[in-house]
């Protein structure tokens, strides 16, 4: 890129486009695909993400063991090293933990849990944020002020703190042990409540811009109701930014879940997520049973790095300023 006032290659004035191009055309015009194919990192990141998502989805089919089923764990197989070490045993290719849990299976199931929690959390925060953003932007006035003030307050607290508080309050309110289902729900809600602000702000500002445009006024004149206008005309304009936020938030959500589990307030040891596995494995850092912490750690790091790379690339590709 050259300085902007060196007017090299300035395109000749293009006549104003009359009709907005179709989505496909927009995709092509934005050079998204070209930029994608041109970026080796983006390709590698996508490949890694797809691979890991695939492994996660297929976990029940390909795992040698169901690590969540206590009946399948046998203490006899505990603390086995990976297969390439002297005491390694098939089918425990990456070794086992202190309960005889197959590390490979646990990592696969853990990836699955991490992704489930992450995706659900992102969807929750996205739906919440987009809805509130639409409402705030369209309604304006007191409602807008209220929502955006709440967003400000919310921004005061990092996600992990909010998630911990939600978790703690829920524990205080329900008492005792939560089943895994509700527990996952709780974590998803914690994450949802932590990450909605960015969506809301983006959507709101976009609505503010679109609201004043002629076509929205026209749509209103022909009798379309606000929800229809919002959904049909405003939403498509924010898909790009929202998608970028969602990608980056997915990585954050996965980290948040892992952190909660690491702090001991997330998923229990009997149903370990990657974070729980790392917490347990951490105990064996000195005793030479490195595989219990290393593989979950690698899987988590790999997943998050891949998603972040994708997110970075998407942001750059969709940001006209940087093109």
């Amino acid at each position: 890129m050259s300085g902007r006032d060196i007017d090299v290659g300035d395109a000749p004035p293009v006549p104003l486009q009359v009709a907005s191009p179709g989505r496909l055309a927009r995709w092509r015009d934005s050079d998204l695909l070209a930029s994608f194919l041109g970026s080796k990192t983006a390709m590698a990141a996508l490949l890694a993400t797809v691979l890991m998502v695939g492994l996660a989805v297929a976990a029940p089919l390909i795992s040698p063991q169901n690590p969540y089923d206590p009946a399948q764990l046998d203490l006899i197989n505990s603390n086995l090293p990976p297969i390439w070490q002297a005491d390694g045993q098939a089918p425990f290719y990456l070794g086992t933990d202190d309960q005889g849990r197959d590390v490979l299976s646990a990592v696969l199931y853990g990836l699955r849990l991490s992704l489930i929690v992450g995706v659900l959390g992102v969807i929750t925060s996205g739906v919440l944020g987009i809805a509130l953003g639409l409402v705030a932007g369209y309604a304006g006035g007191a409602l807008d002020t209220l929502i955006m003030r709440v967003a400000d307050v919310q921004l005061t607290f990092p996600a992990i703190l909010i998630a911990l508080v939600v978790d703690g309050v829920a524990r205080a309110s329900f008492g005792g042990a939560l089943d895994v289902g509700p527990l996952i729900g709780l974590i998803v809600i914690s994450i949802g409540l932590s990450f909605w602000v960015q969506y809301a702000r983006t959507v709101r500002s976009s609505v503010m811009v679109e609201k004043g445009k002629d076509y929205v006024q026209a749509a209103r004149l022909i009798g379309l109701t606000p929800p229809v206008i919002l959904v049909r005309h405003v939403l498509p304009n924010v898909t790009g930014p929202v998608f970028v936020i969602a990608t980056i938030n997915l990585a954050l959500a996965i980290i948040t879940e892992a952190t909660l589990s690491f702090l001991g307030t997330g998923l229990p040891e009997t149903m370990p997520s990657l974070g729980t596995l790392i917490r347990t494995g951490n105990r064996f850092l000195f005793s030479g049973e490195w595989w219990i912490v290393a593989f979950p750690g690698l899987a988590l790091a790999g997943l998050v790095i891949a998603i972040n790379l994708l997110g970075d690339w998407l942001r750059d590709a969709l940001n006209p300023k940087l093109q």
Partner: protein, 538 residues
Amino acid sequence: MSRSTLKILARGVAAGAVATFALAALPAQAANVFRFAFQGDLKSLDPYSLKESFTEGMQQAAYESLVTLDKNLKFAPGLAESWETPEPTRWRFHLRKNVKFHDGTPFTADDVLFSAQRVRASGSNFTTNVPSDAEFVKVDDYTVDMVLKKPNPIALAQFPTWLIMSKAWSEKNGAAQPTPANATSPSYATLHENGTGPFVIAEHQPGVKTVFKKFDGYWGKAESNLDEAVLTTIANPATRVAALLSGEVDWIDPVPLQDQQRVNASGTAIVMAGPELRTIFLGMDQDRDELKDSSVKGKNPFKDIKVREAFYLAIDEETIAKRVMRGQAVPSALMIAPALYDRASEIKRPATDLKKAKELMAQAGYPDGFTLTMDCPNDRYVNDEAICQAVVSMLARINVKVNLNAQPKAKYFAKVLAPNYDTSFYLLGWTPSSLDSHNILFEIVGCRKPGDKSGRGSWNLAGYCDPKIDEIADKVEGETDKTKRDALIKEGFETLNADWGYIPLHQQALAWGVSKKVHLTQRADNLLLLYWVSKDPQ
């Protein structure tokens, strides 16, 4: 780049530090400081608030008892120079003169009378340490009589953990009553200490650190050469081991089983695995008519002896000892350690029998098992949560689905202990403070009755009850002939075992990690007693 930045950073900070040095006079560095780390915390400084070995051991550095235990667990004079039994129901204690509390006031008979009353008051966790029928009489300032209703050969058994507090100090600071377990207002005695022991607690930050300083006005001659001892809490096992290996601390407890080899190989520290007296066992709620948090409604499966037996037989303790405990545990047939009961070897632990367990479940009407919740501490005993997890997967083989609720010990105890007894199935560890079987038969196995102030069944969270065992326990308490007594105890334990009342698992090996610079005595009850700790001067 980051290294050079760090250097700059460090330089800046150092410059700041130097500047501040000029302003703040550094406290004189104590000559010989023993630093030690425990996985948990010293929960309370009030010597009657929590019966927990580590807390008790720490309190014994600052507080003293009338009768104490020597390195071989034999009675030795403490604040009482000597004692005698002029008649079978009267015990006379001759108190040590010239003993001073840390606040400088002298120790007298009034303090003993006060402590005897306070330790048995409501809210005390040590009510059973002093016989409930004992009456204390002041003969003179340095002589106290304990008058019992009936003869009791083991009346002094728990005296070593009954620590004497100052009457004047307690009353002055509004701490005349022990802190109740669920108090919401802080008690002075919880955070402050005033004992007669060789160490003063100079600083106590709950959950962070506690500083012990040598008490210069101590009446005796301490074996320890320490000037100061600093206790820190390091909950994370790996961090704790790292701290020992790097020399940041001189003593840690416990050394995780998996790290013992590494500690021994380090050359700077060793593992001291003592004969562990604590028995880890599982309790099954046999009190409620409907089990809490279970799929079984309207009845309590644990009331069926077949279910209890099935549980017992399904749990493969041998494998737990070998794998989870890495061979550092001894499977136990009894609720007491063999070291504490001479005829222990006569009772054998039934072997694991999965087939029979399944049959029993079918006979009891649960061929497809049932669901229940298990309570488990995750920071109290060696590999506690791992043991529970292993139990969960073993019970899965007889189709019992166990939801494991593993929690930090504070939460765990608040849930399962009196008065809530809120548990269906739990793991607990127990060392009889009297080092005697009676304590087990009385506190763990004895029937618990609402309003019973004697302390019987006070730790019987399972609500197990067999009046026959209560009778035996009472006989044991009064029996002075060892042979007869041991026979009675055997009968008691066999009755319990025949009823599958509890599932004893093992005696855990509790290992300390000790720097080679430190010399100390590890007594069989595993208390860390600072007055026996010495450290090579730097």
